[in-house]
């Protein structure tokens, strides 16, 4: 038999590492993405004849807690039924021992891809829509802990989805009752807390809050507010906070102030909810004062003039014409 080349050995090894879907209703189509603890595969659901995404663990060590954490992620997603959170269809263990869950396959772009050449108002409205599912999750006691542009998908119909809840956990402030009566998987959340209570730093540099970066296990939902501020900064400057900005010349002082408030090192100095932050964004979009920016008299006048530009022009034209009439009448 002909010896196997390094290329063939690598191919065979990769083939053997593919999820073994024997006995399931799924069939692998192709690899989509690699994450911190597993890979996402595009698969076909042979029963319903539709494409789905399978998140499968790469490695399984019996004691490392990863299978449990993946299952918790699936349960958290299943408990958070919101148009901005990708729905989970199924979860379990494959024939090769790897934990997996099946979710809706989102065809679209990441936030970074989507916002290229988009207007500022479009970007700000996107941020409002990112904050909606986040606010929903926070209201149910969950925090994401790994918000970043790569984890935001814009679907084919313009839907905004917050992805990858692999680091999500229950807030240290405890669960709040679900407003719409959605069942919150209590056992899952308790386990989730335990898994991540080792003091290890989880998250992505540039987007995680200072308290999370210090390995503080008692972080609350305001760690996500910091990440939301970092995402806003990314949308405005083209880079993560701390990295050299690509472009900040067009960032107005109120918007900069919104970012700075969300990115405050002290959680108490930040917006206390995603909704509070998006309220400021909405005020900015409407030309109204924002809570994060105490404006001066001239700035206030300029903003009011800019906000009511049409009315101001009409009044100015009217006054000018009145003046002309008066002057002509005196002659």
């Amino acid at each position: 038999m002909k010896p196997l080349s390094d290329t063939v050995v690598a191919n065979l090894k990769a083939g053997m590492q593919m999820p073994d879907l024997e006995g399931t209703r799924y069939r692998i189509v192709r690899h989509l993405a690699r994450g911190g603890m597993g890979s996402v595969w595009l698969a076909e659901d042979t029963v319903l004849e539709r494409r789905v995404a399978l998140k499968v663990l790469d490695l399984v060590a019996p004691t490392d807690g990863l299978p449990v954490r993946l299952l918790q992620e699936a349960r958290i997603l299943a408990g958070l039924e919101h148009p901005g959170i990708v729905p989970v269809h199924d979860a379990g263990t494959l024939a090769d021992g790897r934990a997996f869950y099946c979710m809706k396959y989102v065809e679209g772009q990441t936030l970074a891809q989507h916002i290229a050449n988009k207007s500022l108002p479009h970007k700000l409205r996107l941020l409002e829509r990112i904050a909606e599912p986040l606010d929903f999750a926070h209201a149910r006691g969950f925090i994401h802990r790994d918000l970043k542009p790569e984890n935001i998908m814009i679907g084919a119909f313009g839907e905004v989805l917050v992805m990858d809840w692999g680091l999500a956990k229950v807030s240290s402030t405890g669960l709040k009752p679900a407003e719409n009566g959605t069942a919150v998987p209590l056992q899952a959340t308790h386990n989730s807390s335990r898994i991540t209570a080792q003091g290890s730093v989880l998250g992505t540099p540039g987007y995680i809050s200072p308290e999370q970066a210090r390995g503080n296990t008692e972080v609350d939902h305001r760690t996500d507010i910091f990440s939301l501020g970092a995402i806003l900064w990314f949308m405005l400057a083209g880079s993560a906070p701390g990295d050299p900005p690509v472009a900040t010349s067009g960032v107005s002082p109120p918007l900069r102030a919104i970012c700075e408030k969300a990115l405050a090192p002290d959680p108490d100095a930040r917006y206390q909810s995603a909704r509070e932050m998006t309220t400021d964004i909405a005020h900015y979009l409407n030309g109204e004062p924002v809570s994060a920016y105490p404006e001066g008299v001239l700035e206030r006048m300029g903003r009011v003039l800019a906000r009511h530009r049409t009315a101001v022009i009409l009044v100015a034209v009217y006054l000018l014409m009145r003046l002309l009439f008066i002057l002509l009448a005196r002659r």
Partner: protein, 225 residues
């Protein structure tokens, strides 16, 4: 481990599997690590596996202390040191070896190993390559006896061929006179069988269930149940 067994038949069978998987790694390792001349390395490899067959090395192997793979590499190092100390070499051709293997082929392959690769990395890579070769031999035998030759041919055409770009499943379907879904299913079957065969071989050459799982996890990145 069967190679440590008192049953001569079981020991012989286990030895064959170990020798088939490890002779190339050992040969290439000593060539690289000790810069041993070609014929001396071939003699060394023959002698090493002769001692292995005589249980001289394997008797002291304890799977609780490490992997067989690492143990054999360390044994090769110690055996080399011992030979160097005793200034004792087997006379070339003076003793029939335990292996019927092709050292020329190993030498040709060795010429393609990057200079930057360490002997230890080469040893591990060769072990994987040998294991896959044994897996393929078993897969071939299994397909032949099970009437699955089309499955095997598809696997060889798609997974073992270095063609770049690879043929599409539609092209393979036309070539083999099959439906595209058949190509998908046949390839999935062959890959699953190949995986099973490789794991069978791995199980043969590991001393305990724990070692088997650890080696499988290293090799495949997954836990085996």
């Amino acid at each position: 481990m069967a190679a440590q067994s008192g049953d001569p038949g079981a020991r012989s069978r286990a030895f064959e599997v170990i020798a088939a998987a490890y002779w190339k790694p050992i040969y290439k390792y000593v060539r690289m690590k000790w810069n041993m001349p070609t014929e001396d390395a071939a003699d060394f490899t023959q002698d090493f596996f002769t001692r292995l067959l005589e249980k001289e090395f394997l008797d002291s192997y304890d799977s609780g202390k490490g992997r067989l793979r690492t143990f054999l590499r360390i044994c090769a190092d110690r055996f080399f040191m011992k030979q160097a100390r005793d200034s004792h070499r087997l006379k070339r051709g003076g003793k029939s070896g335990a292996l019927a293997v092709n050292f020329e082929e190993a030498e040709q392959e060795l010429a393609t190993v990057p200079r930057s690769e360490s002997p230890e990395d080469c040893f591990d890579k060769e072990w994987v390559r040998s294991l896959f070769m044994l897996g393929l031999q078993q897969l071939r035998a299994s397909c032949e006896s099970g009437g699955k030759m089309v499955h095997l041919e598809l696997f060889e055409r798609y997974d073992l061929d270095e063609a770049d770009p690879k043929p599409s499943y539609a092209q393979l379907a036309t070539e083999f006179g099959l439906a595209v879904t058949d190509v998908t299913n046949y390839l999935a079957f062959a890959r699953r069988e190949f995986r099973r065969c490789v794991l069978d071989q791995l199980r043969e050459m590991t001393a305990s269930e724990d070692e088997f799982r650890r080696e499988a996890q290293t090799l495949l990145g997954v836990e085996i149940r």
